[in-house]
């Protein structure tokens, strides 16, 4: 068994192979057509094969070339930051812009090592006011400001 000497390229190669295989597999249901009249499946098939080939070269090359290790730190910031965005998506339509904003600010602030409750809350309230003023009154975006179950949106 050959040794993986370039972990970043190796992983990247596998990732491109995965995308290539997925493109070919999902795209296999689309009519290919012929070169003169390409169907919807023709171009994706070319791209899938290209990705597969490029990924394979990268993966094999990673067995011969040396490279730095992949540094993995705690997944906490990643989960908190992306989670806060998903939370915003879930809460914005029903709870309105103000609540969703405060939630996003407080939750995402927790990703920092210097998190302080009070500071995050104050910042959330200020930004919520700013968002309502700027986006709703200023730009006229169609958003519900307050929770919909409290009556008018």
């Amino acid at each position: 068994m050959a040794k993986i000497r370039h972990p970043k390229d190796f992983a990247a190669g596998l990732m491109f192979i995965a995308f290539g295989v997925a493109a070919i597999a999902i795209g296999s249901g689309y009519p290919l057509g012929v070169a003169a009249r390409m169907g919807p499946g023709y171009f994706p098939r070319i791209l899938g094969i290209l990705l597969l080939a490029l990924g394979a070269v990268l993966t094999f090359r990673a067995l011969r070339l040396d490279g730095a290790k992949i540094t993995l730190e705690s997944p906490r910031p990643l989960l908190i930051v992306l989670g806060s965005v998903v939370l915003f998506g879930m809460t914005a339509p029903s709870l309105g812009l103000v609540v969703a904003t405060i939630l996003l600010i407080v939750v995402s602030s927790a990703a920092s090592t210097e998190f302080r409750w009070k500071e995050a809350l104050v910042s959330g309230v200020l930004l919520a006011a700013l968002a309502v003023a700027g986006f709703i009154w200023g730009l006229g975006l169609q958003f519900s400001v307050w929770p919909t179950f409290l009556g008018k949106g």
């Binding site: 003169a36 070269v57 090359r61 993995l72 914005a92 602030s109 930004l127 975006l141």
Partner: protein
């Protein structure tokens, strides 16, 4: 001369109150994000893309353009005063700019950077205006085969001139092309790669992919880095450079402007490459090479002029050929399509007010930026005292609101989070995201032109080699690829980008 009449039209458009206001907003925002490290023009323009939906196209594009070149001005402030690149394209300015500041010449460095940028911006804008007509005429002769080859050349050029692994960059382009064709196929009406999600039948939005891969990933990477900002706590007494500094800066500004203007036009070029190349050039031609790294004026004047010149000239391929040379221009394509404008040679004829108004606004914007950056410098420096822990949640919020407002769809927000995760993985594996965005924007165009070219040639693929213009472009692309395999060139390419990291 037509040019004068056209510029006259441009200025009449750009000087209207609403356009002036949006140019000012763009320049302010650009300076703001330029000053702030950890958020770049790509993420900002992506974030504001949805918001421009409600604006008429001309002020929208004027504002977005202002953000790009405004960021080049703002970035230098942070580089000089904090020794931290406010913008990637100002990274080399740190080397000598910060040293100048430590010697008490911060004011002079800021002044030279701003005035050099202004000179470069004016030249770049003039070049853009001058090149627009002839380039458009060439572009109008292009058929689908030529367009296909031009895009191939553009993409190859973009990876050759960018930094990082060539193989990974090409793979990222192909992946971008694949993301680009998600959605309903225009020819057959078939939904491709939409996974039964109705939102995906309209394709992936430029804003979602750019905000996720650039905006969110930048925040995530910044959070995992510990950064300490030592803002220079000295009073900026005088902004005036002395006679010796002016004498040394002028030729550097001219050299920087020339190299920046050229590199801006090239695919894959743009502000970042220009500033690195200009620094290298200054170091080479200077008789005082030993002063570089210890506060050489040329090391500030050259790169800062170059990045600004390139920011202007990179609009040339976008506005005349419809081919974006870099990631920011790819977003401009997104902005134009939001407003149902197909970028390309026809913009000038069908939308002359927009075309020349945009160009004229760039000159006005550069003028505003000098005013914004020199007397108001104290205000921008104050901004740097805002800690990152307060800043990033706010950036995140504006991203989320921007994406959500696109079509009041929560799916868009989730998609952006997904692309944020992908962006994080790409960063971890050292896969540059800029080629992905370029491929993403070009995907549908490339497929369409490939189909048309093959239809016209009745399935004969040699059409790309028998049409002379197309052949020239493919040969150029092959030549570029060969160049990079050549060890000598590879070495210079690596060196060019290492200056700033050292």
């Amino acid at each position: 001369m037509d040019l004068l009449a056209n510029l006259g039209l441009g200025f009449s458009v750009a000087l209207s109150p609403i356009n002036l206001m949006y140019a000012l907003i763009g320049c302010m925002l650009g300076t703001l994000i330029g000053v702030l490290p950890g958020i770049g023009p790509v993420a900002t323009i992506a974030m504001l893309l949805p918001i421009t939906y409600g604006l008429p196209p001309t002020p929208a594009l004027i504002m977005l353009a202002g953000i790009y070149y405004g960021a080049q001005y703002g970035g230098s402030t942070t580089s000089i005063l904090v020794n931290l690149p406010g913008e990637a394209s100002s990274a080399v300015t740190c080397i000598d700019g910060y040293q100048m500041a430590r010697k008490g010449r911060a004011g002079a460095a800021l002044c030279i950077a701003a005035l050099g940028s202004f000179f470069a911006g004016c030249v770049g804008t003039l070049l853009l205006a001058a090149f627009a007509l002839p380039m458009t005429e060439v572009a109008l002769k292009f058929g689908p085969a030529e367009y296909f080859s031009l895009m191939v050349l553009g993409m190859i050029g973009a990876v050759v001139l960018a930094h990082g692994s060539l193989l990974k960059a090409i793979a990222m382009i192909v992946l971008g092309l694949l993301f680009g064709i998600v959605g309903t196929d225009v020819n057959s009406g078939m939904a491709r790669f939409s996974f039964g999600i109705p939102e995906l039948t309209d394709g992936i939005g430029t804003a979602q992919i750019a905000v996720g891969v650039f905006g969110f990933a930048e925040i995530l990477m910044s959070l995992s880095r510990k950064e300490n900002r030592d803002i220079l706590q000295q009073k900026l007494t005088s902004l005036m450079p002395n006679r010796e500094e002016i004498r040394r800066a002028i030729p550097a500004v001219i050299r920087g402007t020339s190299i920046g203007s050229m590199l801006g036009i090239l695919p894959g070029g743009g502000a970042l490459l220009a500033s690195f190349a200009a620094y290298g050039l200054e170091k080479k031609v200077s008789k005082r090479a030993q002063e570089f790294g210890k506060g050489a004026v040329e090391g500030v004047a050259g790169p800062e002029s170059a990045n600004n010149a390139a920011a202007q000239t990179s609009f040339i391929p976008l506005l005349t050929l419809g081919i974006p040379p870099n990631a920011v221009m790819a977003l401009m394509v997104g902005a134009m399509t939001i407003h149902n404008i197909q970028p390309g040679p026809q913009v000038m004829t069908s939308n002359p007010g927009l075309f020349w108004g945009l160009i004229a606004s760039m000159w006005l914007g550069n003028l505003m930026l000098v005013v914004l950056n020199l007397p108001l410098i104290g205000m921008w420096v104050k901004l740097l005292t805002v800690p990152y822990r307060l800043l990033y949640p706010a950036i995140l919020l504006f991203c989320a609101i921007g994406v959500y407002s696109l079509s009041n769809s929560t799916v868009d927000v989730y998609m952006t989070a997904l692309f944020g995760f992908m962006g994080y993985v790409f960063a971890k594996l050292e896969c540059e995201p800029a080629p992905l965005l370029l491929g993403f924007v070009l995907g549908p165009l490339l497929e369409e032109n490939l189909r048309r070219a093959m239809l016209l040639s009745r399935g004969d693929p040699t059409v790309f080699f028998t049409r002379p213009l197309s052949l020239v472009m493919l040969l150029l692309a092959a030549f570029l690829l060969l160049l990079i395999v050549a060890p000598q060139f590879r070495k210079t390419r690596e060196e060019a980008f290492q200056e700033g990291e050292a």
